[in-house]
Amino acid sequence: MGYQRVETAPRLHSAELLLWLYLAATAMLFAGFTSAYLVQRFSENWQTFPIPGVFWLNTTLLILSSYTLFWARRGYKVNNPWQIQVGLMATFGLGVFFLVGQVIGWRLLVHNGFFLAGNHKAVSYFYVFSGLHALHLVAGLIVLGYWLFRAFRYQVAKQTELGFRLASTFWHALGVLWVYLIVFLQVNQLF
């Protein structure tokens, strides 16, 4: 008797599995960073600092961008090219605003006398975490830019389902990562 086809049929497409494994590696990277933070957080000389409100505004923008991306994906499901284009454009725009907002936030920090270099660990970590997240976000914007380009050429269709899904998973993951980081950093400033 032959074997059933089902036996080796994967549950997740290889590309999707690769992306999730990549995200697991990224999660481990930031788990490493945040555990380093926790180790130092309970040392003697630990100081806190006020996180400028603009970072919370940025957080809202990034959460909104995830929503607009959902909306764009829905447009794709109901075959509405206009919804895809507008949704993607909004997502991309919000992503850019987020980055600009982060730069404003860093400038505010510098203005208030909180620098990367020096002995204020909480501030140093803040720059490292938000900087590395911003680098990841630039990669996310490149991916979104590619899909925006395709959307305007009417090339987002059934055949591109997988690629588009992967791109949005990546973008949402960047949002989740940022929310984790900002909540983590904020909570550690409270006490």
């Binding site: 270099a117 009417y154 269709a157």
Partner: protein, 647 residues
């Protein structure tokens, strides 16, 4: 028609077909930017071996210094220039040599070289896949590894020399550019090289995991996978979990080194001057580093033991003893490796209670390790042992795993480790248990799979000579180090002439150096054999070792896609050697009981496995062989109705 994630099986078959048909290949696409896993395996092997050879040459230089600290060797000035004025090695450069030797051998030879080579070669071939899940990412994986190698080697040519803080690059030595010459630009290049290396390893690892989970051929259930694949898969998971925190450690180190932060730095005086950095903690680096560093030992060892399982079973013509126990021990070792890291830090003043916990978890490693050793011995027991080169090296691996591993008991127990810490006892221990043992598996694997890689056999006589010189040599080099360690001789010292408790070992140091130089010279035999056989070796038959696993059913000449027709279907586990009632002492995995009843004669020299593989119409394995890079289908506009999927 069946659909699969919105893509019809027909499309998938089209993809897998397009995947293994030949494209016109230029030199660049065939050798440099190849996406064929077999070529990438060769790239990893060559890069690994070449950097490994450079690594052991470095040890030859610092061994000369240790044996003859007062002698001048004019040839050193010729090759090292300002680092060996008047033929005498500069102390700073001695540190750089030790650092680079460790870095190259641990990461480049035994991680990138070993896993990169055999995961690339074996995972698709032994599982019956056309290629890796993403051949493109696989190619990138090698290129990151390669450029990491270039950056690391480039650090030999910067004015202040390569990194010199030891292969573990502990701060503050590594974090302060002014600490020593090797903490300057060389250190920055070391970090960049390591980050490139980790990215390469992770890209490879993601692919290995995905390929094992998704692309096994029909019938290849998890417990029919060869142990080498089990080991390589587990190692990829280990790497995925442990390398990123190390990258976090390296990034923070780079910030401390070059951007003025103080994550790891506090209370430091250089030449009477207090540095401004306060509040940092060097132990934080140690924790992050060893959270990788200990799993890293098994990232090195598990592939070596997986390869050894294949070699011992094949060349003893016996099924591996306790297959499932072997799988469980691989998983057990992997799990325990994550909860032992602080045994590298017993002398950092940790709470004794914590020390006892880490002692206990460390000693746990002995259980799965001992299970493996017993299984190797019982596989050999009453086997029809063919003492050819791969088998000799496999037995060598087991031998070193025992003689190096037993001393792990001493070092794993905090009160014994404290006096032995940072002595030559440790040097002897890890060189035998993970260095030489893994290198032997890599040699064994190379001799065994050389015919699969290059279609030719390596020379057996030269192989014997290489084995015996290296086996005896490595024991003569590293065994005496245990005695020196008990005598309290510390590692990483430039010369042992200054103190009476170290200088009394000077004769032994000379002995070790002579043995080391002979052992290094013996590797020239391997290099000659390797390159000579590549071009002029005896042409290999398709299945030279009469092995059962799938890689030997593919044609000797490499095809992109591995099998010219169908993918093989698997009917049995990988160790059907000397099965009672079988006509010969091996039954390949793709031979079914019906084939045996039909009188298929798979053991004959001119037998072509595709006569069995291709006569089956039912090739369900193809359905999952779709790679990540499908040919882009012609785009539809969103308004255009997509073709309705067939039921």
């Amino acid at each position: 028609m069946a659909t699969y994630h919105g893509t019809s099986v027909e499309t998938l078959e089209h993809i897998s077909e397009s995947h293994h048909t030949h494209h016109r290949e230029s030199f660049w696409t065939k050798y440099i930017f190849s996406q064929d896993h077999k070529t990438i395996a060769k790239q990893f092997l060559l890069t690994g071996f070449i950097s490994g050879f450079i690594g052991i040459l470095l040890s030859g230089i610092f061994r000369l210094q240790l044996a003859f600290p007062d002698k001048s060797f004019p040839f050193l000035e010729t090759i090292l220039g300002k680092w060996a004025p008047e033929g005498r090695l500069d102390p700073n450069f001695y540190m750089a040599l030790v650092t680079m030797h460790g870095t190259i051998l641990v990461f480049w030879l035994l991680t990138g070289g070993l896993s990169g080579t055999f995961a690339n070669l074996l995972i698709p071939l032994q599982l019956g896949a056309r290629d890796m899940a993403s051949p493109f990412i696989n190619m990138l994986s090698f290129h990151f590894f390669f450029w990491g190698t270039v950056v690391l080697m480039a650090s030999f040519f910067v004015g202040t020399g390569p990194a010199g803080a030891g292969w573990t690059v502990y701060p503050p030595l590594s974090a302060l550019p002014q600490a020593m010459p090797g903490s300057g630009l060389g250190m920055v290049l070391w970090i960049i090289a390591l980050v490139l290396f980790v990215v390469g390893v992770l890209m490879g690892g993601l692919n290995y995991i995905t390929t094992v989970l998704n692309l096994r051929t029909k019938g290849m259930s998890p417990f029919r996978m060869p142990l080498a694949v089990w080991a390589l898969f587990t190692v990829a998971v280990l790497g995925l979990l442990s390398f990123p925190p190390a990258v976090a450690a390296f990034i923070l180190l780079l910030f401390d080194h070059s951007l003025g932060t103080s994550f790891y730095l506090s209370d430091i005086y250089i030449a009477g001057q207090a540095l401004p950095q306060q509040g940092g903690n060097a132990l934080l680096y140690l924790h992050l580093f060893w959270f990788l560093g200990h799993p890293e030992v098994y990232i090195v060892l598990l592939p070596a033991l997986g390869i050894t399982s294949e070699l011992i079973s094949t060349h003893a013509r016996k099924p591996i003893f306790g297959y499932k126990v072997m799988v469980i021990s691989i998983l057990g070792i992997a799990f325990v490796s994550f909860i032992v890291w602080a045994h590298h830090m017993f002398v950092t003043g940790m709470n004794p209670l914590l020390g006892s916990i880490f002692t206990a978890t460390t000693l746990l490693v002995a259980i799965p390790s001992a299970m493996k050793i017993f299984n190797y011995i019982f596989t050999l027991w009453k086997g029809n042992i063919h003492l050819n080169t791969p088998m000799l090296f496999a037995i060598g691996t087991v031998s070193f795993f025992i003689s190096g591993g037993l001393t792990g008991f001493f070092l794993g127990v905090a009160p014994v480790d404290i006096p032995l810490h940072n002595t030559y006892f440790v040097v002897g221990h890890f060189h035998l248990v993970m260095g030489v043992s893994a290198v032997f598996a890599m040699f064994g694997g190379t001799y065994h799979w050389f015919p699969r890689l290059w279609g030719r056999m390596m020379n057996e006589r030269l192989g014997y000579l290489h084995f015996w010189l290296t086996f005896v040599g490595a024991n003569l080099v590293f065994f005496p180090m245990y005695y020196m360690g008990f005598g309290g001789v510390p590692r990483r010292y430039y010369a042992f002439t200054e103190f009476s408790f170290t200088s009394k070992w000077q004769d032994l140091n000379v002995f070790i150096t002579v043995a080391a130089l002979i052992t290094i010279a013996a590797q020239l035999i391997f290099i000659y054999n390797f390159f000579h056989s590549m071009f002029w070796g005896k042409p290999a038959p398709r299945n030279p070792w009469k092995a059962t696993t799938l890689e030997w059913s593919a044609p000797v000449k490499h095809l992109h896609g591995n099998w010219p027709g169908n993918l093989p279907t698997v009917y049995r586990w990988p160790y059907d050697y000397s099965k009672p009632g079988a006509p010969v002492d091996f039954i390949p995995q793709y031979i079914s009981d019906e084939d045996i009843a039909r009188g298929v004669r798979w053991w004959e020299e001119d037998f072509d496995p595709s006569t069995v593989i291709d006569r089956r119409e039912d090739t369900g394995g193809e359905a999952v062989a779709a790679s990540v890079e499908p040919k882009p289908a012609p785009a539809l506009s969103p308004n255009q109705k997509p073709p309705a999927p067939e039921a």
